[in-house]
C-alpha cells in the first residue's frame, strides 16, 4: 500500500512514518501544509492520505478543508484525518464529502499500533475508521435529536449499543466479534436486531452496513 502524510510537526510526522514503514506501509511522500496535500496526491497517486486537521498557514481547520477537497478531486483516494480533538461538525463534513474510504481519529490512537494500522488499511481499502469519541458524539447528537432516551437508540440493549458503536467505528462483523470476544453468529443476531430497531435496510455487506449506521447517526 502506498500512503502520503501531511503533518506540520516533524516530531509526529517522522514518528508516524516510522510506524507505518515498520508495518509494511510504503510512505511515498510527506508535506507540511494544506496546499502540500494536493501537490503530493496529484504527484504520487497514493492509495491513502493521512492528514492533520490543523495545518499552516492558518492553523485552523486547514487540513480538514484540504482533505475534503482531495476527496472530491480524487474519487479513489482514502483519506484518514488525524486530530487532537473531536468536532462532530468536521466529521460530518468529512463523511459527506465522498464515497471512498475515510477516517477521523484522535492523534493519540497512533499509540494503539495494531488498531491504528487496522484503521489505515481499512480506509485505504475503501472502508471507514471513526474514533470511538467521534462515534460517542454522533450517538449523543442523534439521541438529542430523537428527544430524550425514548428514541430508537434508547431502545437498544447495552450489548446492542456496544455493537452499534463498534460498527460505527467502521469495523466488520468479524472484527466486532473479536473485540467483544463473542461468536460471529452472536454479532449477526445483534446486528439484525439493531437494524430492525433503527428501521434500517438489512444488508450482508459489512461496508454497506457501516455506511447505513453512519448515515443514520449523521441525520440526527
Amino acid at each position: 500500500m502506498r500512503a502520503v502524510i501531511v503533518e506540520d510537526l516533524a516530531l509526529l510526522r517522522e514518528g508516524i512514518v516510522a510506524l507505518l514503514r515498520e508495518n509494511g506501509i510504503d510512505v511515498v511522500a510527506q508535506a507540511e501544509d494544506g496546499p502540500g496535500l494536493e501537490r503530493i496526491v496529484a504527484g504520487h497517486k497514493p492509495d491513502l492520505a493521512i492528514v492533520d486537521v490543523r495545518l499552516p498557514p492558518t492553523f485552523t481547520d486547514e487540513g480538514l478543508r484540504a482533505a475534503i477537497e482531495a476527496r472530491r478531486r480524487h474519487p479513489g483516494l482514502g483519506v484518514l484525518v488525524l486530530s487532537q480533538y473531536v468536532e462532530p461538525v468536521y466529521t460530518t463534513e468529512l463523511l459527506a464529502s465522498g464515497e471512498a474510504g475515510v477516517g477521523y481519529l484522535l492523534k493519540e490512537r497512533v499509540g494503539e499500533v495494531r488498531a491504528f494500522i487496522d484503521a489505515v488499511q481499512r480506509v485505504a481499502a475503501g472502508g471507514t475508521a471513526l474514533d470511538r469519541e467521534v462515534v460517542a458524539e454522533l450517538l449523543r447528537a442523534r439521541q438529542a435529536g430523537d428527544g430524550a432516551a425514548d428514541g430508537a437508540i434508547g431502545s437498544l440493549t447495552p450489548r446492542e449499543r456496544e455493537v452499534l458503536e463498534l460498527m460505527a467505528e467502521g469495523r466488520s462483523n468479524a472484527a466486532v466479534a473479536r473485540a467483544l470476544v463473542v461468536s460471529g453468529g452472536a454479532v449477526e443476531k445483534h446486528v439484525r436486531n439493531i437494524f430492525a430497531k433503527l428501521d434500517l435496510p438489512a444488508s450482508d455487506d459489512d461496508h454497506r452496513r457501516v455506511l447505513a449506521v453512519l448515515a443514520y447517526l449523521r441525520d440526527g
Binding site: L11, D61, E87, P88, E112, V113, E137, A144, G147
Partner: protein
C-alpha cells in the same frame, strides 16, 4: 491726542482690517486733529473744545485695532474672553476721559467700572470653570475612567491573545510530545509482544499518556473550542445546539466577527445558558438570537418556554453575569413564574 486704544462697545465703522488701512486712518485722523487745534487757535483760544473732538476721533481707531487683534487670535472661548476684557478696558478708559474733561466731579464712572469688572469676572469663571476644585475633580475622574476603560480593554485583549497562545502551545508542544510518547510506547509494546510483563507495563504507560492528552484536550477546549477559533460564533453555537439534549433554534447572522475576547465570552454565555435550559426548563426548546447592534454591541438572547421563575442570584446566572460584566457588558434575566425564561446579554465590541 488721546490713547488710540480707547474704544466704545458699538459696531465698528466698516474699516478694512489691514495694517496699511490702519496707518492711513491714523494719518487722516491726525490731520483732522491738527485742523481742529488750528481752528481753535484761529478762533481766539477760549474753552478747549478740540479735546472732545479728539476723543471722538480716537474711537474708530481703537475699534480698528481691536478688530485686528481679535482676528489674529484663534476662535473660541478664550478669544471671546479677551475681547470682553479689551472692550471693557476701552469703555472704562473712555468713561474716565469723559469724567476728566467734564471737570472731575464725584467719581461717577466707578459704578460702571464695577459693573464691567463683575461681568468680566462672571465670564472668566464660566470659561475657566475647570479650574474650580469640584469641577477639576470631576474632570480628573472622567480622564481616569477613560484611562481605565482603555487599559482594561487592552488587558482583556492581551489576556485573550495569551490564552490562545497557550492553547497553541499546548497543541504543538505538550500534546504533540505526549502523542509522540504514546506512539513510541506503542512501537516498543509491539516489539516485546513475547514478554507479556513488559508489554503490560508499556501498555499502562501508554494509557497514562492517553489520559494526560485527554486532560490537556479538556483544558484547551475550556479556553475556547476549536470550532470557535476556526469558524466563528455562529458555527460554534450551531455545534452547541447539535450537541444539546433540547431542541434549539438559532437566529444568528452577524456579518463580521467581534474581537476574540468578545466572541469567546459570547460563546460561553450561550453554552452556559443552554445548559441551564436543559437542566431547568423541563425539556422545553430554546431559541438563541445573536445580533450585532450598530456594529458596537453584540446582543445575545437565549429564551425558553419552560416554567420560568429562575433565580437571578443562582450560581449559574451569577457566573454568566460576571463573565459579561468583565467586558463592560450587561446581563438581564426575565423569568416570570410560568412565563419562560429569557436571558439577554449585551457585550460592547467596539473600542
Amino acid at each position: 491726542m488721546h490713547d488710540p486704544a480707547t474704544s466704545v462697545p458699538q459696531p465698528s465703522a466698516d474699516s478694512p482690517p489691514s495694517a496699511s488701512w490702519l496707518d492711513l486712518q491714523i494719518a487722516f485722523t491726525l490731520l483732522l486733529a491738527i485742523l481742529m487745534a488750528v481752528i481753535w487757535v484761529a478762533s481766539g483760544f477760549g474753552y478747549f473744545w478740540p479735546a472732545w473732538v479728539w476723543m471722538g476721533l480716537s474711537v474708530p481707531i481703537a475699534l480698528h485695532v481691536l478688530v485686528l487683534r481679535t482676528r489674529a487670535r484663534a476662535p473660541g472661548a478664550e478669544r471671546r474672553l479677551r475681547l470682553q476684557a479689551e472692550l471693557s478696558t476701552g469703555v472704562a478708559a473712555l468713561l474716565f476721559v469723559i469724567w476728566a474733561l467734564a471737570g472731575m466731579g464725584p467719581l461717577w464712572p466707578f459704578w460702571s467700572w464695577l459693573g464691567l469688572a463683575l461681568a468680566y469676572a462672571a465670564h472668566a469663571i464660566v470659561v475657566h470653570r475647570d479650574w474650580l476644585p469640584a469641577r477639576a475633580r470631576e474632570q480628573a475622574l472622567v480622564e481616569r475612567v477613560d484611562v481605565l476603560t482603555r487599559t482594561r480593554s487592552g488587558a482583556l485583549d492581551v489576556q485573550a491573545a495569551e490564552l490562545r497562545r497557550i492553547e497553541r502551545d499546548l497543541h504543538d508542544g505538550a500534546q504533540a510530545r505526549l502523542v509522540a510518547l504514546s506512539m513510541h510506547l506503542g512501537r516498543a509494546e509491539q516489539r516485546v509482544a513475547d514478554q507479556p510483563e513488559i508489554a503490560e507495563l508499556l501498555r499502562q504507560a501508554r494509557e497514562d499518556a492517553g489520559a494526560a492528552i485527554a486532560e490537556l484536550r479538556d483544558l484547551a477546549r475550556g479556553i475556547a473550542p476549536p470550532i470557535l477559533a476556526d469558524r466563528g460564533l455562529t458555527a460554534a453555537i450551531e455545534a452547541l445546539a447539535r450537541r444539546s439534549a433540547i431542541g434549539v433554534t438559532i437566529d444568528a447572522d452577524p456579518d463580521r466577527r467581534p474581537l476574540p475576547v468578545v466572541e469567546t465570552a459570547a460563546y460561553f454565555v450561550v453554552a452556559e445558558a443552554l445548559t441551564n435550559v436543559a437542566k431547568h426548563a423541563g425539556g422545553a426548546a430554546a431559541r438563541v438570537r445573536v445580533t450585532l447592534d450598530g456594529d458596537e454591541t453584540l446582543v445575545l438572547e437565549i429564551a425558553d418556554e419552560g416554567p420560568g421563575g429562575a433565580d437571578p442570584e443562582g450560581s449559574g446566572l451569577r457566573g454568566l453575569r460576571s463573565r459579561v460584566e468583565a467586558l463592560d457588558g450587561t446581563l438581564g434575566i426575565t423569568s416570570p413564574p410560568g412565563g419562560g425564561t429569557t436571558i439577554r446579554a449585551e457585550l460592547p465590541c467596539g473600542r
